[in-house]
């Protein structure tokens, strides 16, 4: 059932570090060495090192004595590392809001008070344990070349009609997340399903097109650029923005019926070896200077209430106990079963 292309990408990305005795799978592990006297800040993140590096360097400029070990893993692995294995990290950054919420709810996060006068929007944090530092729309990306003369879809309804009317254009050339593999993909699918019943129809129609399933946005974007995909549904907007070339005719569509807005969140794990370093970095990320760097240098959109107000179709995923529902194993099992039934048509089965 797994797409061989994905397996290839995954095996390319997966790097097992012998030095790290960890049961969870690590994708990248980078050390930004400081002068060494200030200790080591250990960050476990789902965000690619390349994207986060400017922020890490900017922080290191303010604290040159601190070395930073930046470890990238999938959102499921980040969750597992903290929840099951008690791995020692000072900050956990993830795009899987539901898993982060579960960690915070179950007492795996330390409180963060912030500097005096620190006031974060109510919708962008949960208690004083989970903080959003970036917001990004979850978008549809379309290859203009692949679409030909067909009109750009503006809503999910348009998308369904397009696929129904021109199956030959889309069959085997639509990409989306595999929620069984990707934490973010699961979050998007469950939130889609929660927002609208259209999701299940879309899933069924998409299933008829034999979609390619991915575990990361990067791979979808790469395949779209390579001409293998006409459309990819539910791609992280920041990645698409950074990599897609408008001149090449690739278009980012924020669907008008609703566009989920993901909050990237950070928490200080309960078992952090140096929580004060974690808090220092979190404080830096949430400071005006940090937000400025996130916006301009990492390509992740900073927390901005006015941006949400300006886009009525933007639906931020709410940080709250509601997210816990989808982490429930029975619920997850049930949802994935339904999803498989909708997307994986009998002809897909090997």
């Amino acid at each position: 059932m797994r797409n061989p292309a994905i397996t290839a990408v995954l095996s390319g990305l997966l790097i097992c570090w012998a030095a790290m005795v960890a049961a969870f799978e690590i994708e990248e592990d980078t050390l930004f060495a400081g002068t060494g006297t200030g200790g080591e800040l250990r960050i476990l993140s789902t965000t690619d090192t390349g994207i986060f590096a400017p922020l890490l360097r900017a922080f290191q400029a303010t604290r040159p004595d601190v070395s930073i070990r930046y470890t990238v893993a999938s959102s499921q692995e980040v969750y597992r590392a903290l929840y099951d294995e008690g791995a020692g990290y000072d900050l956990a950054i993830s795009s899987a809001m539901d898993l982060q919420m579960k960690l915070a709810n179950d007492g795996f996060a330390q409180p963060f008070r912030g500097a005096a006068g620190f006031d974060w929007p109510a919708w962008a944090h949960w208690q004083d344990r989970l903080f959003a530092f970036a917001q990004e729309p979850v978008v549809l990306i379309v290859s203009r070349a692949g679409l030909g003369d067909l009109p750009l879809p503006r809503t999910r309804q348009d998308l369904i009609s397009l696929m129904r009317d021109y199956p030959d254009v889309f069959t085997g050339r639509i990409g989306t997340y595999d929620p069984t593999l990707s934490g973010a993909g699961y979050l998007f699918a469950t939130q889609d399903a929660r927002q609208s019943d259209t999701f299940w129809r879309l899933a069924e129609v998409m299933g008829g097109m034999h979609p390619r399933l991915y575990s990361a946005s990067g791979a979808m974007i790469a395949d779209l650029q390579a001409g293998e995909l006409v459309m990819a549904y539910n791609v992280l907007g920041s990645y698409a923005e950074a990599r897609l070339d408008a001149d090449a005719g690739d278009v980012i569509v924020a669907l008008e019926d609703f566009t989920l807005t993901l909050l990237r969140t950070a928490l200080i794990p309960q078992q952090a070896p140096s929580p004060e370093l974690g808090a220092a970095f979190l404080g830096f990320m949430l400071s005006p200077a940090g937000q400025q760097i996130i916006e301009t240098q990492t390509g992740l959109p900073a927390i901005d209430e006015s941006a949400l107000a300006a886009g009525p179709h933007l639906r931020p995923i709410r940080l709250g106990p509601g997210l816990l529902v989808f982490v429930d194993p029975l619920k997850r099992e049930r949802f994935l079963e339904e999803w498989r039934a909708a997307v994986q048509q009998p002809s897909d089965q090997p």
């Binding site: 007492g107 208690q127 106990p321 529902v325 619920k331």
Partner: protein, 461 residues
């Protein structure tokens, strides 16, 4: 008249203090009740939401051939985020087995009801939870199976709301206290005004004003006013009885004495027996002494009475002195004594009781003539100076024989050298008491060259 009497705390202070204490207690009570009510109200609200969430999950329970199926609705948990950002824990049990959720979440003590959620509070891991439990019976493989749905939530949101309410309640209580304190002070003033007015009215009265108090007094003060009026009436009665008694006594003593003296004189003229004549002369002398003593006793009683009940008026001391001196001239002539008067012609104004001053002057002059040697001169002088009038009465006689003036002004105290002179020992006492009552002073000293010199000083008006 200022008296340094030790006073107990004022009614006003006590009243204000008590009212303030009551206000403080009520404010505290208000704060506690608002807090308690707010706490209960918020808890009830939170419980309802928690119960609704639990019931929502219970409604999604399905039996089936493979076992129990649960589809936790998104709304069940999202509604728990309505009041605050609280942590949520849940557990779905069939028998003792946990189907899903946190298997260490405390189950209810008894059995959960299918109709109404059961609420209880328990510590769980590192927090205290409010928990709702509901049971549902579902059919699994044709058998009825009871499932229990437990949802727990921390109460930080509730605590925050209650703290907020408590702050408002505290502000409310404080405001209430301030207003109540101000009102207490006002009330104390209003309540005490009639008492103050009554006290002022009584205090303003002159010493002879013995009329009953006719003032509208509050019902609570009526017994006091009645008692005071009764007291005033009795005092008035006692004073008038004393006055009558003194007059009566004077009359009743002097009249029989006069009769005895007259009879003794007649008997003296009619008898030729020397022994009898000697006896009768001593009777006459004794009667004279008694009459004089009685007169002075009554004088003294009058002085004592009048110093309490005196009628002050403006008097010309010069005229008074001249009148007294003239009145004593016949007595002086009997002993061939000359009274030399040195009194200014202009009026010398003093304020005092005429009867008292007359009595004092009479006693002074009488004393001087009594103790002067025959054929001498008694000098009576009235001098002015330094806001005071000074009356000097000096004689040439036996003097004081070393006895001090203070001793002589004691009742019934006479000099050691009075010998044959008739006297009661009350004369100088009366002079001294009059001097004190009029705000003046009295002194008596030996005179150079023999005799005594008495000085009565009185303030000029």
């Amino acid at each position: 008249m200022s008296s340094a009497r030790a006073t107990s705390p004022s009614i006003r202070q006590r009243l204000v203090l008590q009212l303030v204490v009551v206000a403080a207690l009520l404010s505290g009570l208000l704060y506690l009740s608002v807090r308690t009510v707010a706490d209960a109200a918020v808890e009830t609200t939170q419980d309802s939401i928690l119960g609704a969430a639990t019931t929502t999950i219970a409604d999604e329970l399905r039996g089936g051939e493979d076992g129990i199926e649960v589809d936790i609705p998104y709304t069940a948990f999202s509604m728990l985020g309505a009041i605050g950002q609280d942590r949520v824990f849940y557990r779905i049990m069939v028998g003792n087995q946990t189907v899903t959720g946190y298997d260490d979440l405390p189950a209810p003590d008894g059995t959960a009801s299918g109709l109404e959620p059961r609420y209880y509070s328990r510590p769980f891991r590192d927090v205290d939870l409010r928990i709702a439990a509901v049971s549902r019976t579902v059919l699994v493989q044709g058998r009825a199976v009871e499932a229990v749905i437990i949802v727990g939530q921390t109460r930080q949101g509730q605590a925050a709301i209650v703290a907020n309410m408590a702050n408002r309640a505290a502000a409310l209580g404080l405001g209430f206290f301030v207003v109540a304190t101000l009102l207490s002070i006002l009330t104390a003033g209003t309540v005490l005004r009639p008492i103050n007015r009554l006290a002022e009215a009584v205090g303003r009265r002159g010493p002879q004003d013995l009329r009953p108090i006719h003032r509208d007094a509050p019902r609570e003060l009526a017994p006091f006013v009645t008692a005071l009026n009764g007291f005033i009436t009795r005092l008035g009665g006692a004073l008038s009885r004393t006055e009558t008694f003194i007059a009566e006594a004077a009359h009743h003593i002097r009249t029989p004495l006069a009769t005895v003296r007259a009879q003794a004189e007649i008997a003296l003229r009619q008898t030729n027996d020397d022994a009898t004549r000697t006896a009768l002369r001593s009777v006459v002398r004794a009667v004279d002494a008694s009459a004089r003593s009685a007169g002075q006793l009554l004088d003294h009683a009058t002085v004592v009475y009048r110093t309490d009940q005196r009628t002050d008026e403006r008097l010309d001391l010069g005229a008074l002195t001249r009148d007294i001196a003239r009145a004593f001239e016949p007595t002086a002539d009997l002993r061939e004594i000359v009274i030399a008067l040195d009194v200014p012609v202009d009026p010398v104004q003093v304020t005092g009781d005429r009867l008292l001053l007359e009595s004092a002057l009479r006693n002074l002059v009488d004393n001087a003539i009594k103790y002067a040697d025959p054929e001498t001169q008694v000098d009576i002088a009235l001098k002015l100076g330094d806001g005071r009038a000074e009356i000097l009465v000096c004689d040439r006689g036996r003097g004081l024989s070393g006895v001090q003036a203070q001793a002589l002004t004691k009742r019934f105290q006479r000099g050691e050298n009075v010998g044959d002179v008739v006297g009661s020992g009350l004369g100088l006492t009366i002079v001294n008491e009059v001097a004190q009552a009029a705000g003046g002073s009295f002194d008596i000293v030996n005179r150079k060259g023999g005799g005594a010199c008495a000085t009565l000083q009185l303030p000029l008006s």
